[in-house]
């Protein structure tokens, strides 16, 4: 018996692994002001509508890894309520990389669409 919900979940997760970086870079590229994790998650929620593609908690490790590769930079600032917040901002390297990634994504998208349609 095929356990299709589990398989679908796994498929979704594997898709997210690469796309999350592209999405986060794009979001931060559009904004002129640095954003903290919850703000980014909120914005993505608006984009995705009712469908939820990934858990918000999974965004943070991706943010760390992008920062680690020098595509993002961050600073911690105290907040009025609650613990201090880490604000993320795209670096110039990040912008350059994003342009390349967008190109890759476009090619990928048309490739996948053609494969699905079979035309």
């Amino acid at each position: 018996m095929v356990d299709s919900p589990t398989l679908t979940k796994k498929f979704q997760k594997e898709l997210n692994a690469g796309i999350a970086s592209l999405v986060l870079l794009s979001v931060l590229n559009k904004k002129t002001k640095p954003m903290y994790g919850y703000q980014i998650a909120k914005l993505l929620e608006d984009y995705s509508g009712d469908a939820s593609f990934m858990k918000q908690g999974a965004l943070y490790p991706v943010l760390h890894s992008l920062e680690n590769s020098g595509l993002l930079e961050s600073k911690v600032e105290p907040s009025v309520s609650g613990p201090p917040r880490r604000y993320y901002e795209i670096t110039s390297e990040g912008r350059e990389t994003l342009v390349i990634w967008q190109g890759v994504w476009k090619q990928m998208k048309s490739f996948v669409e053609r494969a699905i349609k079979g035309a």
Partner: protein, 296 residues
């Protein structure tokens, strides 16, 4: 069902047991920041909602502790600190030995050895002053708050040192401050800090750094001056007519001309050896810093 953010964080900590200590610290800080912000926001929008239901919804969106732990573990597996990436393996031992000049970790370690002198003196002064004042102020009413401030400053410095160690030595260290419960009274906070092994190890590290920093600095300056002197001997003797050794005004000793290539090569060899040594020392120091400054 999870009843409080603290409970969520504790569960997340358990789930992350097998991850790197630095990852755990980051994950806890991220989760606390997010959950508090999300909870406050949701309760503001829907004041009629019970706190428990709101938390439930917030966690549903953020992901269960095990989902979150998996996400961190997966990304951590793919990302390695910048400097810790493997250098392409060169074949011969000689190439590896001289290849040290292209290894960012070796340069980072040399720079760290230089900086450790300054930070070592500062840490030592800070720890001695803070510790002795905390002990002697304990007689007075303001003694305990003072001790709390001192412990907090030690935590801050430990985080800062961690950033330095990760940046220069390439050993993964926490990027976010250690998680503490924010609703604690200051006295409980003090008790928590005083009972935490991590605080005392950090203070010990501050003392040790003074000794190590001095040793590193002496090693660095000695080797650098010897290497540079050896390399400079041909120039000094030929162009400036300065002897290598002079005793009083009578005995002037010059190295013979045929030995010049050997001297220059010796100087370069000495510095290269030191660079290799520094890389090793850097790794050892990084491991020590990690075991002392990061709570497991």
């Amino acid at each position: 069902m999870i009843k409080s953010i603290e409970e969520y964080l504790n569960l997340l900590k358990t789930e992350l047991q097998r991850s790197d200590a630095a990852t755990v610290q980051d994950a806890l800080a991220d989760a606390e920041e997010h959950l508090r912000a999300a909870l406050a926001n949701l309760l503001e929008k829907q004041p009629e909602m019970s706190e428990e239901a709101a938390l439930d919804q917030v966690i549903e969106q953020y992901g269960s502790p095990s989902e979150t732990a998996t996400a961190y573990a997966e990304v951590e597996r793919r990302t390695v600190p910048q400097l810790a990436r493997e250098n392409p393996k060169t074949e011969s031992a000689i190439a590896r030995f001289f290849g040290v000049y292209t290894d960012a970790r070796a340069w980072g370690a040399v720079l760290y050895m230089l900086i450790a002198f300054v930070t070592g003196v500062f840490y030592f002064t800070w720890a001695v002053t803070g510790f002795s004042l905390s002990v002697s102020f304990a007689l007075f009413i303001f003694g305990l708050p003072f001790a709390l401030l001192f412990f907090l400053s030690v935590r801050g410095l430990a985080l800062l040192e961690g950033r330095l160690v990760e940046g220069l030595l390439g050993v993964r260290m926490p990027r976010r401050p250690l998680f503490t419960q924010s609703n604690l009274k200051w006295f409980d906070r003090l008790k928590e800090l005083a009972l935490d092994r991590h605080t005392w190890f950090s203070i010990l590290y501050m003392f040790i750094q003074f000794i190590l920093g001095t040793v590193y600095f002496v090693l660095f300056t000695t080797v650098l001056s010897f290497s540079l002197s050896f390399i400079a001997i041909p120039v000094l003797q030929e162009f400036f007519n300065l002897p290598t050794i002079q005793i009083g005004s009578g005995v002037r000793y010059f190295f013979p001309t045929w030995s010049y290539p050997l001297l220059v090569f010796g100087g370069i060899l000495l510095w290269t050896t030191f660079m290799n040594l520094a890389r090793g020392i850097g790794q050892l120091h990084g491991r020590m810093a990690k075991s002392m400054l990061v709570t497991d």
